[in-house]
């Protein structure tokens, strides 16, 4: 039997579970339904039917509830107080969330495409953000970072063209600045060197030993865990070690007052233990030896030398009131009052803000390889573009669905929903999507972290991020993306006029303007990134494979011990006795290293003596032969001619051109005088070597002079028989042990050393490729979603076409071509943009590939193929579907 009271109670209970109804409202509605049933019963309708009709006329509870909610705020003003209104608002937000979730669940494919695309995009962005944040944080941990400047030195020739710029300067400059310039509160010199360190039986070669002035701790922030910062570096023969080094040499014992043996002959007393510099620092000393220790090793004249021996990284702390610009203008006069260059180059001191060194300074003789601002900008752009592509997917799919959503919007509007409410609802949906994407993105980041960490030099890990960074970063990304991706659909959909939507469907066809504009943009970005990727990879392979002007394979480089220097010829013959070794030579520098030393020379050109500054490299007689370098004119050094050791010079073609000889032949046998400080070697040019790449391909081949000077050799180069590497290595190691049994055998391969020069470029190229491919995948994902949607909408049309005799292939073609048009447009837009970007990047290399047209075409075709493949899957599925089914559908 029907029980009205029970039925009403049940109905009210259903309503009360929705938000928006207050108790008072429910009472009013109960009266309403009872009045209705009563009236109907009087007209002869049964109680049960009357109740059911009343419920029907009452309307959809969910919709009515939302209408009630809308009045909640205005009620607050008049009656109930803000608290309950806020509660109502909160429950409404929850209900939007609920509606949003339900919508997403109903549209699983749509939601997963969006979430996946956004997640990948977000993961890329967050990784890039970590990288950028790390790069920007360099040297900012120093308390006085904004007052610390490094003093660099630059030389220009008579045409004002820079010849050389060094990150280190001569020994007396720093202290003189502190004494004579009131702006300089403190100056600290850092001398970096490698040295054997030993405690009892523990002995290692250490690469990051720094001699530092006692003011080090006043200028830089390097907390001392033990010892007194004021006195730690004041006395000779003292050393401050990092915590890691303390553990390495002294284990858990207290290192204070213990001694470290340096160079196997000098005892240093440990006067302090400091914290290591963080990863984001442009230098990382393991040991700070007091500067006064090293002063004992240098002669009086060296200590007063202002022009040469630019070995000292010099940092100044400006007084708080001083202005770096003003100080810079005083530097030329300051330098000239102490020193006047002897040849016709001019030099100048430059102030570099400490915090800009990592990204902006790439001078010679930097302590460590620095970063590069243009890469940071490049990655910011790439991250932003990937996010844009992902957001566009969202916008496109949301507006494409507007035909369906439009009806919903129309209903809500007709029944009084305000536009603000609708916008809030759509933004709510985009926030839910973004939040889900963020969760997925963090998982993806976690997966990508090892590879990313490796590519960025193992310096960026989750551990380098604080919890607040993560929280703030993630939150801001969610807000930005929700707004970016949700705003357009929200505004677009909420604008619908109810009458229009309810009468006919809106949302238009595939061609609808904005949507195709976004797709064009997405693919344009993808094409630009792919072209960029192609050029970067080609350039990296070019610099690694270019003919360097000598045979770089099968060359091993070893250090020279002093014992070998004194009688190099004997050592050379010993090594050459092995059948596994083809030839042996020695030199000061070996190719792949920077040509740091420059020297003034005079040369006889057209009967007069001309001055120039050339890079120099002392070499042994066999240098050209061992390296397989070719002569353009003249002859190589010969052991038969005794004077070759004292007065013969070989220059490269660049030097011959710089000095002004018309041809290489013209230079041979001309007078040539070499002038170092307090040292002069007159002689003549015996040969001109064809230009070869000594340094990285970023640099133009520098004018260079080679000459014989055994006391300056520091490296031995050995050419080994190609198939006898192991034999040669064993032999070399044994011979080495004969000379220095206590010293570890170290070596490197010239081809690998050259490869290492482009390590950063290779890593950037690799990262860039990943991001370009990811961008394309996200764009393709969006296209896939759009294609499914369009195919779905055109089901009936296609059914009719098939019934009328259209072929499957014809339909696939029709559907696919529609999508290829935007890819074509994207290509036209992308090419000039890509060209400009690529040329900007290539400009940093003195030797580079051309951005070939075929590369552009290839990128276009590749992207078109990906788009086609994506769309075809959908098109074919739609095209082969049974027309009976699709026509019956509805």
């Amino acid at each position: 039997m029907f029980n009205l009271d029970k039925a009403i109670a049940h109905w009210l209970k259903g309503l009360s579970q929705r938000s928006g109804f207050r108790q008072e409202d429910l009472e009013e509605l109960e009266t309403h339904i009872r009045d209705y049933v009563e009236a109907e019963q009087l007209a002869g309708v049964s109680e049960k039917e009357a109740f059911q009709a009343g419920i029907r006329r009452f309307g959809d509870p969910e919709f009515v509830a939302s209408e009630y909610q809308k009045t909640a705020w205005s009620k607050a003003r008049t009656r109930e107080g803000l608290f309950s209104a806020a509660l109502a608002e909160l429950s409404m937000v929850a209900s939007y969330g609920q509606v949003g979730l339900r919508n997403l669940f109903r549209q699983r494919a749509y939601a997963s495409i969006n979430i996946l695309g956004l997640a990948v995009g977000l993961a890329c962005c967050l990784l890039i953000a970590m990288y950028v944040r790390f790069e920007l944080s360099f040297d900012r941990h120093h308390e006085h970072a904004d007052r610390i400047y490094r003093v660099a030195r630059e030389w220009v020739d008579e045409n004002r063209t820079p010849v050389l710029a060094l990150a280190r300067i001569s020994m007396p400059i720093g202290p003189a600045m502190e004494k004579e310039l009131p702006e300089v509160e403190k100056a600290v010199r850092l001398l970096q060197f490698d040295a054997p360190m030993a405690v009892d039986d523990l002995r290692f070669i250490e690469w990051d030993v720094f001699a530092a002035d006692s003011g080090f701790f006043d200028v830089f922030t390097a907390p001392l865990l033990q010892g007194d910062a004021r006195t730690a570096l004041t006395s000779p023969n003292t050393v401050v070690v990092t915590e890691d080094m303390s553990k390495k040499y002294f284990g858990s014992a207290d290192p204070m007052g213990r001694t470290l043996l340096i160079f196997d002959n000098l005892e240093l007393t440990v006067t302090g233990v400091m914290a290591s510099q963080p990863a984001a620092s442009h230098f990382h000393p393991d040991f700070l030896v007091s500067f006064r220790t090293t002063e004992a090793w240098t002669s009086e004249s060296d200590r007063g030398e202002w022009g040469q021996y630019n070995n000292y990284g010099t940092y100044i702390l400006l007084s708080p009131s001083a202005d770096a610009g003003v100080l810079q203008t005083k530097l030329p006069a300051f330098l000239r009052s102490h020193y006047r260059p002897r040849n016709n180059t001019e030099d100048a001191l430059l102030l570099q803000p400490l915090t800009s060194i990592h990204l902006e300074s790439s001078l010679d003789a930097e302590f460590e390889a620095n970063g590069n601002r243009s890469y940071v900008i490049l990655f910011v752009a790439v991250g932003f573009l990937i996010l844009v592509i992902a957001c566009f997917n969202f916008i496109n799919l949301a507006t494409a669905r507007s035909a369906q959503r439009g009806k919903e919007v129309g209903m809500r509007k007709a029944l009084g929903a305000s536009r603000g409410r609708l916008i809030a609802q759509f933004l709510g949906e985009s926030t839910i999507l973004t939040l889900s994407a963020l969760v997925a993105a963090i998982a993806l980041m976690w997966l990508a972290m090892p590879e990313f960490s490796r590519l960025t030099g193992n310096r960026i890990t989750f551990a380098t991020l604080g919890i607040w960074d993560v929280a703030i970063g993630a939150l801001s990304v969610v807000i930005v993306v929700s707004l970016l991706a949700g705003a357009y659909p929200a505004v677009f959909l909420s604008r619908f006029q109810p009458v229009a939507v309810l009468r006919r469907s809106v949302g238009g066809s595939w061609r609808s303007g904005i949507r195709s504009l976004l797709v064009v943009t997405q693919f344009a970005i993808s094409i630009v990134l792919i072209i960029g990727m192609g050029v970067v990879l080609r350039q990296v392979s070019y610099v690694q494979n270019k003919d360097l002007g000598f045979e770089k394979d099968h060359l091993i480089v070893l250090p020279v011990a002093p014992e070998m220097q004194t009688d190099f010829e004997r050592y050379r013959r010993q090594l050459a006795s092995s059948p596994a070794i083809e030839s042996v030579t020695a030199s000061r520098l070996v190719p792949s290293r920077a040509l740091v030393d420059h020297v003034g020379v005079q040369a006889e050109v057209n009967g007069e003596m001309r001055h120039a500054s050339l890079a120099l490299n002392p070499v042994d007689h066999d240098f050209l032969d061992v390296y397989g370098m070719e002569l353009a004119a003249g002859r190589s050094f010969s052991k038969e001619i005794a004077s070759d050791s004292t007065e013969a010079f070989i220059i490269n073609e660049a030097a011959a051109e710089l000095l002004g000889w018309k041809s290489a032949d013209d230079a041979v046998d001309r007078r040539f005088i070499f002038e170092a400080s307090g040292f002069m070697r007159p002689g003549s040019v015996i040969g001109v070597v064809r230009d070869f790449h000594f340094e990285s391909l970023r640099n133009k081949i520098a004018p260079l002079v080679l000459f014989i000077m055994p006391e300056r050799y520091s490296r031995v180069t050995v050419r080994i028989a190609p198939s006898r590497l192991d034999e040669a290595m064993a032999f070399l190691e044994n011979r080495w042990a004969d000379y220095r049994p206590d010293f570890p055998f170290t070596y490197s391969f010239v081809d690998q050393d050259f490869g290492a020069l482009y390590e950063a470029d290779r890593k950037v190229g690799r990262l860039f490729s990943y991001f370009a491919v990811i961008a394309l995948i996200i764009a393709a994902l969006g296209l896939f979603g759009l294609a499914s949607f369009v195919a779905d909408r055109r089901r009936k049309e296609i059914g009719v076409r098939k019934v009328l005799g259209a072929s499957v292939s014809g339909i696939v073609k029709m559907l696919s071509l529609d999508f290829l048009r935007p890819v074509g447009m994207a290509f036209v837009v992308a090419c000039p943009v890509a060209f400009l970007i690529v040329r900007w990047w290539l400009d940093r290399f003195a030797y580079r590939v051309d951005p070939d047209l075929w590369l552009f075409a290839l990128a276009g075709v590749a992207v078109a193929l990906v788009a086609l493949a994506t769309v075809s899957v959908q098109s074919i599925r739609t095209a082969v579907s049974d027309p009976v089914v699709s026509l019956k559908y509805e």
Partner: protein, 112 residues
Amino acid sequence: MLPKVLVAASVRPIMLSVLSEGEAYGYAIVQRIHNLSGGTIQWSDGTLYPVLHRLESDGLVSSSWRVADSGRKRKYYRLTTGGEKALEVERRQWLDVHAVLAKLWGLEPQIA
């Protein structure tokens, strides 16, 4: 049946007009409109109440709970002075629209 948009636009003047006839409760208002329109104007009964509540919060209508003779508790709504003024404005606007349409459709002799 009236299109929704027209329902949405007319619900306010109709509601105000019904209340201008005197104090009334929810079901009575629904019935009154139903009878007047002969069923051409229909809406979900449930949405009537939010409209009344909004009129109330706009100060055009006031409400009070009373117990009827039958013992049933009902919420009665009545027009406030503000409501009367609002109705007057609405009335003029709708008559303007009506006049234009009437002229166009020749339902009224044109005034030369």
